[in-house]
Amino acid sequence: MNEIKRQLQMKIGDTTQQQRNVIRKINAQHPTRSKKKYVFIPATVSLALLVATCLFVFSFKGVGEPSTSTMHAVPTPLEEEQVDTFESNEVLTLTEEQKRQYHQQYVEIIEKAMEKKIGISIGVSPMEEFKESDWVEPQVFEKRIQAGVDAFLATEREKLAAMSTNLKPAVTNPNGETMKARYLYFSDILINIGVTATFDTQYNSEKDRLLFSEVDAISTKLVNHRGTWDQTFQQATILDGGRTYRIYIEGIFNYNGLTFEKAFTIEFHCDEFGKIY
């Protein structure tokens, strides 16, 4: 082997993990299904199918099957521990009617999990794609989903904590708009969202300081990342006697054909001189 090749090979090292990541990313976008039957389906139907079946495949797809879920990208002790607890080798024998009922319950469980808008996209594969070994009691299914959600949240906390020191302080521009950023974590993706709002402050003689009086023009935008972010909901709440504005935001992040709903809060504070941070 030539020296250049040898050294480059050593520099690269073992790519096993990266290969797994590639497969996981592929499965997250296009789970292993025959593609041709979807090619000519209208875009809206495709999108619905993608959301319903393709975005996120949980490990409920069978014991011993390699996990392809993006949620399992960063294994945590919590995740491993809980998955072990929920695994069952028992293969259920179900009638078609029972399968339909179970599938409906799976969908409801997923919908409930998605209502939390934590930034993951979970779908249930169509019933016909379930293997016999995939069927589990709905309670087991729910526990697995919860384990996945918990693992995701644990990873999110870890990632956000690691990045917290990189956040820039709030900036108020000459137009009176204040922008503050925070990170949002989606499956394997960390994005930076800038939240901009215009605040009014008033002097409060009783407290001898400036306090928030009003907020207006709340907007959010994606900073330094591919994809799109669409804000769908906002709600501002004044707290702490006017010292703090807590803004609750919901939005949809689109990236590489994947759609994630996310809800988060960000706080703006007003110091006694009216400086917002």
Binding site: N2, E3, I4, K5, Q7, L8, Q9, M10, K11, I12, G13, D14, T15, Q17, Q18, Q19, N21, V22, I23, K25, I26, Q29, H30, T32, R33, S34, K35, K36, K159, A162, M163, N166, Y183, I189, L190, I191, N192, N224, H225, R226
Partner: protein, 172 residues
């Protein structure tokens, strides 16, 4: 029309994944970006597999797609501004760190610091061991251009490396 079924798609992934990842990494020097690129290549191949002409080998076809995407990435704003997504992937993997403690990969570092056109020539010729003709075909340029780039790349490496290191290369 080629009907690319799941099993064959998976076989293709397993067969070419490592090769394309290595190649992609040597272009973009970022594992996360390399994974994204290879993933896009496979997905695109999956979607457009009927467009694949069997005139070239599948590996050549995928290699060309990967290289094109790597170059797009290197031109992109994402690469130029070093977005947040690179923060985690920029960390040195433990295994590599151990290797680097044990051995200074001076030649590899020198190759990776070359401008992309020259780095590309070195990677494809020495690392992927393609012929000059194959390289010219893949990156759609003339053989003489590849020869020139290889020659210039080696001169750059010679300048950057100590005499001792360079002797290792020339003795092969």
């Amino acid at each position: 029309m080629v009907q690319l079924e799941d099993a064959s798609f998976q076989t293709i992934i397993h067969e070419h994944n490592d090769y394309l990842l290595q190649l992609s990494y040597l272009y973009v020097k970022d594992w996360n970006a390399a994974e994204d690129i290879v993933q896009e290549v496979f997905i695109n191949y999956w979607i457009k597999s009927e467009q694949f002409q069997a005139q070239s080998s599948l590996r050549t076809y995928l290699t060309r797609m990967t290289i094109n995407r790597c170059k797009d990435y290197l031109k992109s704003w994402r690469y130029r501004t070093q977005t947040l997504t690179n923060v985690f992937t920029g960390m040195i993997r433990p295994k590599n760190r151990l290797i680097m403690q044990d051995e200074q990969l001076i030649v590899a570092d020198a190759v990776l610091s070359l401008p992309i056109k020259f780095r590309e020539a070195i990677i494809l010729y020495y690392f992927k061991e393609l012929t000059i003709r194959e390289i010219a075909t893949i990156i759609n340029t003339s053989e003489s251009t590849i020869k020139y780039r290889l020659k210039t790349a080696k001169e750059c490496l010679k300048e950057n490396l100590s005499t001792q290191q360079w002797e290792v290369l020339t003795s092969e």
